[in-house]
């Protein structure tokens, strides 16, 4: 088997034979992503309504369904409405701390059958059991760490209390977000990703997912079809009042 040393010495030997095709540099990175992210945030303090409107337009363009509510307490009503229309009850949700509050009592009161994901490490048996629960659920309720206006994209970081599967296995995904998650462009999202990488909070998981609308394919005669592996539907609920603190 080739070793690291052998592999890299071949690369170095080939590199030494050429200076490349033209002088080139990589993309300029923010030296202080925290400061740049702060600037973006301050600018959005005024511009956010336009960014939100753009997010709504792009999100709907890719097949998402957008809602706007005043407070977190209004979320269960929207979720219950979605469940009722589809005549489904089984819901899995991120842990209350990751979501911004405990919605389970309110959802149960509206006739849903919600299960919250554990906030920390659980045994392998429990993980296997929960996987079945998630696989059988009809609705998946998550937060969103970023909402990118330019493309209508939701960005979700995995971690303790925020499993990857909540937004993947149920046929209908509902994401709740507030103004703090809103950015205008993929470029701005890049600054936040640089920041996340440098200042990784405990409990951070191994995956970041950019989600732009429902799962789709056009592999049979280029006919656009939704929900091939991931959710057939994606709903985004914007909460006007801040979710965290």
């Amino acid at each position: 088997m080739t070793t690291r040393a052998e592999f890299f010495s071949r690369i170095s030997a080939e590199m030494a034979k050429t200076r490349g095709l033209f002088p080139a540099r990589t993309a300029p990175r923010p030296a202080d992503p925290r400061a740049v992210a702060g600037t973006i945030r301050r600018e959005l303090a005024e511009r956010w309504p336009a960014a939100l409107e753009r997010f709504r337009r792009e999100f709907e363009r890719v097949g998402g369904v957008f809602y706007r509510v005043a407070a977190f307490a209004d979320v269960p009503q929207v979720v219950a409405g979605i469940a009722r229309e589809r005549e489904v009850r089984r819901l899995v949700a991120w842990d209350a701390r990751e979501l911004g509050g405990d919605l389970l009592p309110a959802l149960e009161a509206r006739g849903l059958d919600p299960v919250a994901m554990p906030p920390g490490e659980v045994s392998a048996e429990e993980r296997a059991r929960l996987r079945r629960v998630v696989a059988d659920a009809e609705l998946g309720l998550t937060g969103a760490d970023l909402a990118i206006a330019e493309t209508g994209t939701l960005v979700l970081r995995s971690g303790a209390g925020r499993p990857r599967s909540t937004s993947l296995l149920p046929p209908c995904h509902i994401a709740v977000f507030d103004r703090a998650a809103l950015v205008e462009s993929l470029g701005q999202a890049g600054v936040v990703l640089e920041l996340w990488h440098r200042e990784e909070p405990p409990g951070t998981g191994g995956a970041v997912n950019f989600i732009t609308g429902p799962s789709r394919t056009a592999d049979i005669e280029l006919t656009l079809t939704r929900g091939v592996h991931g959710p057939k539907e994606v709903h985004a609920i914007f909460v006007e009042a801040p979710l965290h603190g």
């Binding site: 990857r164 997912n209 049979i220």
Partner: protein, 473 residues
């Protein structure tokens, strides 16, 4: 597994494709649609041109320090608890994956679409070792059931009708199936969902890998990339060494142009960034994460004629605009990667002898350069490949002699002047309506090409007369 038969000459494979009426229709519809969607996406995106230049520059800058960025990637993957493997050849890459499968007792592998694993023919090797390999991209799943190979980089089954897909599914499931894309997609969802949940091994390629963070990036529309990296207990990512990018900031540049070039979407539905194995507190994610760095002919091109082909993002945009691909489709090319870029990638992996015919399967019109998100100069490299094919005496002797004579003739004004009356004499039996239509020995060339006959009075001769007249006045 039935594949394109490479003992059949390219000309005949192309001829068969041209006579296949269904294929012709499917190709026209698909490529025309993709071109329209791509134009629309970039039309709404004024920064597109600047970002394409920037993306091209990032690719070149990364190759100029490839040892450093790959080293960083390896260090970060290992720091996160992943394992890195080095594969010089396709054979070695297959062995690495098979060893992992054997050691972990894997019975079933689910795969998301990956040109790298197509390139190393991983599925056949897994099957031979008793591991069921399931392609989960819908298009790939269809062609796997049909025992075929992809005909397009991003739409692998565009050559199949919904009726053919329904027949394939019916055979697989043992019941009748409606020829409706919606129904067929839902059937595939159900079939593959169980496999995602049961599989031991998840195998992916990598659209990008970020050196600074040790992240593997997968771009899909269906969500299979997410399934494959989240659910099985082992994840193996096989990537060509050229897929590394330095940072998140660089990644964002590519994400802004990749989907627009491939399908005309602003973003593909899922861009999945995964790092290492499952972390404490996570409900899912693999227990083991393996990254296989693949050379297979790439490294020697760092200083080779095909260096620029290492920029390729595998978006498929050059296929859609290529007048040759649009006529013959992917299978006629005969190798894993079709289309203009596919010829270069084939030469990279299999050596120039493999493309002695394919190197000519291009009109050098340059439409591919315009479509390419990182502006790869494909025609320039095709011409260089043609040189190489000629220099290594891989072309037929008639062609080599003819080109050799022509080169000598055109390089010497004196020889050229003398040759004209001789040519006029020699061409006489072959000229019809001012063109040479057919020449014995060169039948393969002249059957599809007309050569203009040498004029009774050439421009040079007329010019000399004009100059003479001018002087005498």
């Amino acid at each position: 597994m039935s594949e394109t038969d490479l003992s059949v000459p390219f000309r005949r494979r192309a001829g068969e494709a041209l006579r296949d009426a269904h294929l012709q229709e499917a190709l026209t519809i698909a490529t025309t649609k993709f071109i329209g969607l791509q134009r629309e996406a970039f039309g709404e995106f004024p920064e597109g041109d600047r970002l394409r230049d920037l993306a091209r520059e990032i690719k070149e800058a990364t190759l100029q320090r490839l040892d450093r960025y790959l080293g960083e990637l390896v260090d970060n993957v290992e720091r996160l608890g992943g394992r890195v493997h080095y594969a010089t050849t396709a054979e070695e890459a297959r062995r690495v994956v098979l060893d992992i499968a054997t050691r972990t007792g894997a019975r079933m592998a689910v795969k998301s679409k990956s040109m790298a694993t197509e390139e190393i023919h991983l599925n056949e090797a897994l099957e031979a070792a008793g591991v069921t390999a399931v392609e989960t991209d819908l298009g790939e799943y269809i062609i796997q059931l049909a025992h075929e190979r992809p005909s397009h980089i991003i739409a692998p089954a565009i050559h199949k009708t919904k009726g053919q897909v329904a027949d394939l599914f019916a055979k697989e499931l043992g019941r009748r199936v409606a020829a409706d894309p919606e129904v067929l997609t839902q059937i595939a969802r159900g079939e593959l969902r169980e496999k995602f949940l049961r599989a031991d091994l998840g195998i992916t390629g990598a659209n990008f890998a970020i050196a600074d963070t040790g992240t593997v990036v997968l771009v899909t529309n269906e969500g299979n990339g997410r399934m494959v990296t989240s659910l099985p207990r082992v994840h193996v990512a096989v990537m060509g060494v050229e897929k590394v990018v330095p940072s998140m900031t660089d990644l964002m540049v590519f994400l802004q142009i990749l989907a627009k070039s491939a399908t005309g979407q602003k973003m593909s539905v899922y861009t999945t960034l995964v790092r290492g194995p499952r972390r404490a507190g996570e409900l899912e994610g693999p227990e083991e994460f393996h990254l296989v760095l693949l050379d297979n002919g790439r490294i020697r091109q760092l200083a080779g004629t095909l260096r620029e082909a290492l920029y390729c993002l595998r978006c498929g945009a050059c296929l859609n605009v290529c007048p040759v691909y649009r006529q013959i489709g992917g299978h006629a090319y005969g190798y894993t990667s079709p289309g203009p870029i596919g010829i270069l990638l084939t030469a990279m992996l299999e050596g120039p002898a493999s493309v002695k015919d394919l190197a000519h399967a291009s009109s050098l019109c340059g439409a591919c350069v315009d479509a390419c998100p990182v502006r790869i100069d494909i025609p320039k490299m095709l011409v260089e490949l043609r040189h190489e094919v000629a220099a290594k005496r891989l072309a037929p002797w008639t062609e080599r002699v003819a080109y050799g004579l022509l080169a000598r003739l055109l390089a010497s004004p004196r020889l050229y002047r003398w040759a004209k009356p001789v040519a006029r004499l020699l061409q006489r039996p072959f000229v019809r309506d001012g063109a040479i239509r057919r020449v014995p020995l060169f039948d393969e060339w002249t059957r599809t090409r007309d050569l203009p006959a040498v004029a009774a009075r050439t421009f040079q001769e007329r010019w000399r007369e004009l100059v003479k007249e001018e002087r005498s006045q």
